[in-house]
Amino acid sequence: MTTHVKDSWMSTRLPCLGGICATYFQKNRAANAPYFAALPFLIAMAAAFLTLSGAVLAVYYNPWHAFDSVQFIDRNVNNGWLIRTYHATGTTMIFGVTYLYLFRSLLRRAYRAPGEFVWMLSVKLLAVLMLTGWLGYVLTGGAAGYWSLFNAANAALSMGGLPGAVGLWFFGGPAGGDTLARLEVFHALLAVALLLVVWLLHASRRAIAAPVASGKGVAFYPYYLAQYFAALAVFALVFVVLAFYAPHLGTSHMNQLPAESLAVPLGGGVPWYLAPAAGMLGVFPGSGLSIVAAIAAIVVLYALPWLDRSGRAGRCGKLYGFFTWVLALDVIGLGYAANSSSGAAPTLAGVFTAWYFFHFLVLTPVVTAMEAE
């Protein structure tokens, strides 16, 4: 294969494609990289996979008979159960790698200049992913998803003014077929937005990659191709174990019930990947405040590059690293509290939520400034 963009057959006929190909042969990448650096690639693969499996499901899905149409896919469509398992487990996988990727960025403080833009895209990725994931959970028409939608839509509609109008535009009503039909469209549009964010994330990560001394770098092909392929194979292995042996991992029995049942499920029932957010929202049940809390939780993440006072090249101390681990436990705790029926759960969720904001708004500026000295 030629590495000279000028002479390649393709580049004279479609110059931009030739240019893209050529970047994979330029020896401008670091000559060593940990496997974990492939996480964004895995996110991209999972997003593409989810889009494809989701496209198949969309053919058979009927928002006016949501639960029944999902049953139909599972039981009567040829290999429909496989596609649905792929879509459900793919969701678990993409959230798994995204949470891992974000946690790694936090630990390495990759959000500091010049990484702020990459970090902001990563937070957007999480936000879009959460919203898409929640819509998917609602679309199943299960009892838990139905009540989650009902509460969210009512909270949005009750806000009045512009937020209420946006809520009405988004939901169209509190629940039911017409709402689900809309949400199905948003679910699909957000999937496209997700792909776009993932692509921007890649491009911006490449842009800030540390320059490699000439003669010391390696090309994407074959070095990174081999590494990404190995990462993908391990990813696929985990995926098939979960898809075929734990297809309902981290999801609730409650959502296997049709939404038609009149009984209101007793809280909880949120899939694991939404549980931390649900725990936080549950602190302010059924009010516009819960939506404010959700936005605030994203905003503090977004503001992290400025909350961290250690500066571009400041020293990274151990103490802040320790607090980052505590934050991870805090978020996991929030998830458990959200799905727990114990009497202490609401208090715990409150404490964990408070710690989350305390971590970003107080600990981060103070500890990083202290350690940078």
């Binding site: 039981r75 098939v240 174990v241 042996y245």
Partner: protein, 230 residues
């Protein structure tokens, strides 16, 4: 996961055990062939479970997501399945509907199609529920039209105890004790909730072997490529 690994190691013994299980006794100790990572539906038990369902439970409950033609997956011949359908006044494409929805003591008998997926514990819970009817302990007052049940959340259910010994006669000669009927129903309802269970475990096992090898080869080739560097 640990269960999964354990059974990979015990693969040989397990498959042997499965064959033994098919010979009959699922009660001592109580076990369901469908449970566990390598489980498959015990078709003989599920067929017996269907027999009990159709003669005892269908008066109140539907299994509306399952059609008579689907019974062929349990080993019924097309003629047998059609016979079942005609006896119930339908055809191969009809769902296993029960009586019209009724209200008993404020509760409606739920459709049982996915009940094993909808309850914590799945098959085991169904067995415990069906065998959990007992005289109420002294001092408990039950709601009108309710029955004491040790497995049901809250301890009292609107479903009456309907299983009894020899409620049906099993064609394969298995003694139809009420415990046996309950276990067979649990296996049948596990199948109705997850009719693709066998295929899922089978494809999964092959896929894991494939991707495990692929991962090993991919990692080895990555190391080779990178070690040849510069």
């Amino acid at each position: 996961m640990r269960r999964f690994l354990a059974s990979i190691f015990a693969l040989g013994t397990l498959t042997a055990a499965c064959h033994a299980a098919r010979a009959a006794d699922t009660l001592s100790p109580l076990h369901f062939q469908s449970q566990g990572p390598l489980g498959t539906i015990d078709k003989a038990a599920a067929q017996r479970g269907y027999r009990v369902f159709e003669s005892v439970c269908a008066g109140c409950h539907a299994v509306g997501q399952v059609h008579y033609r689907d019974l062929e997956a349990l080993g019924l011949t097309p003629d047998q399945a059609a016979g079942e359908a005609v006896a119930a006044g339908g055809n191969l494409g009809s769902p296993l509907k029960g009586a019209a929805p009724m209200n008993m003591g404020g509760a409606i008998p739920p459709d049982l199609s996915s009940i094993a997926a909808q309850r914590h514990g799945g098959a085991r819970y169904i067995y415990d529920f069906l065998t959990g009817f007992a005289p109420a302990p002294a001092g408990t007052t039950l709601l009108p039209g309710h029955y004491y049940n040790t497995a049901f959340p809250g301890g009292e259910t609107a479903m009456p105890p309907v299983l009894r010994d020899n409620a049906v006669t099993y064609a394969d000669g298995t003694p139809a004790t009420s415990a046996q009927e309950a276990a067979d129903l649990a296996e049948f309802l596990t199948w109705t909730a997850d009719p693709n269970l066998d295929a899922r475990h089978q494809i999964g096992f092959r896929a894991i072997i494939f991707f495990a090898f692929l991962a090993i080869i991919a990692i080895a080739s990555k190391r080779r490529v990178w070690s040849a560097q510069i």
